[in-house]
Amino acid sequence: MEGLLPDLDVIRKDFPILERVLAGGQPLVYLDSANTSQKPQVVIDTMVDHLERHNANIARAMHQLGAESTEAYEGARDKVATFLNAPSRNEIVFTKNATEALNLLARTIDLGPGDNVVITEMEHHSNIVSWQLACERSGAELRWFGLTDDGRLDLSNADQLVDEHTKVLAFTWVSNMLGTINPVTDLVARAKAVGALSVIDASQAAPQLTVDVQAVGCDFLVFTGHKVCGPTGIGVLWGREELLNELPPFHGGGEMIETVTMARSTYAKAPHRFEAGTPPIVEAVGLGCAVDYLGHIGLDAIHRHELAITAYALEGLQSVPGVTILGPLDAAERGGAISFELDGVHPHDIAQVLDSRGVAVRAGHHCAKPAHARFGVQSTTRMSSYLYTTPAEIDALVEGLHHTRSYFKVG
């Protein structure tokens, strides 16, 4: 198959969990990478090595281990800056996850009555609820782009939605439910034209597309570590340095200050301004290793692999009677997460039968209830591939769906 990673067998050996055998002797077929990706041995080893040999608090400890730990943590910041092609390492803020990064922005960007925030109907709940809360607090108005029947953003009323009162335009690069790849540069240009801040949720994009913040031209961008082969507990907020330094602090505490008296404090500049308290050190170190690993394989090669697997999966899924795919049917216009319905069988039941055959998928609303409601469905089954996914695993899914139909006596 054209486009697959040339060393797929070797890459699979990097991920020890792919050797797992599940109940009933079923080999693992992991098709839930949009939920969380698996971790290569090098990330696991790097984190273990840090804990075994270099563990100390960062920036506060005046001893050798403290210096080593600080170097590893700040080294991870450099690696993430390279991964995003950020102009400055000071623009990389470590957070707990993408959700916290979005909440940081929604809490600190100044909004008031008369302002509006524009989001889209295909957002993950984290990029909806955080702005709902911000608008409730501030009196700003929340607006959103609707979706077309084929799962794209409906831009027909864009000029009415994004106007001179728009303060923030926040949107996902790649939908976690529909897979749709959004026209990010066009949206950023719309924000810029009215003087609004652009915020991109790259949680699903960062694993599979080259993310170059300078080329995109956005103001802020967030992603999470655990979907890019890194650990959980670590996310990233990237922002233009001058904008980050204009925002008020988010959490108060140690390491985010310049000086503290009982009456008042002054605050450090970004990134430390937003990293109050002891951060997730070993998680950051693991993330640094993970983005290095992806960079070594090459995001272009990973994207080609995802395209090939996604096209094969779209074809395979459509060969199953009763399957309806939500979102674009052209692999070139979408990411590697494919949500679908199977006539007569509920997604939970599909996932349960697939699980008994070792095939791991997600069933439910995927934290995108409004997007599901838009298409009149309560929940879907979602398969999602990654750089270690093989065509044979897609075959196992398709066979599993045929089996599911016969198990529930459909058709």
Partner: protein, 151 residues
């Protein structure tokens, strides 16, 4: 095919799923509740009609998986026509079965078709599916009783 899976999807469950009993919202009713399973989005709207301490009717409208739909059907079968106290006791017995991690022997005299859910207890992710309508019924019944006292 895995025996565990067949244990989960008993014929009784699939029958209730395909042909649910007592489904649809009806009058009269003293209370109506709407419960959701936030992790998966399963939903049930459920009404309870009590008269003279007896569960006269339970009617519901729901969307969800086979386990949650079959469970609502079996629950309605079990509690309709029973004195509230006895229905609450059946609820408790079903709850204990579901929380028993597969180690509780179900009592067919009390649970009737409900014993088919014994296999669900071994699938922690599905226990909430099985309990959704039962929790909604208890909530609605408690509300109906409270209103009965105050009015």
């Amino acid at each position: 095919m895995s025996a565990e899976l067949d244990n989960l999807y008993q014929e009784i469950i699939l029958d209730h799923y395909k042909n649910p009993h007592h489904k649809g919202l009806r009058d009269p009713f003293e209370s109506e509740v709407h419960h959701v399973n936030p992790t998966c989005g399963d939903e049930v709207t459920l009404r309870v009609h009590l008269a003279d301490g007896v569960v006269e009717d339970v009617s519901y409208d729901s969307v969800g998986c086979s386990i949650s739909q079959a469970s609502a059907s079996v629950m309605a079968d079990l509690v309709i026509g029973k004195p509230v106290d006895e229905a609450m006791s059946i609820h408790q017995t079903f709850l204990e079965l579901m929380q028993g991690k597969g180690n509780v022997e179900p009592d067919e005299d009390v649970l009737e078709d409900g014993i088919a859910f014994a296999g669900v207890a071994k699938f922690p992710a599905r226990v909430k599916c099985a309990l959704l309508s039962w929790m909604a019924w208890k909530d609605a019944t408690t509300q109906a009783q409270t209103e009965g006292v105050s009015s």
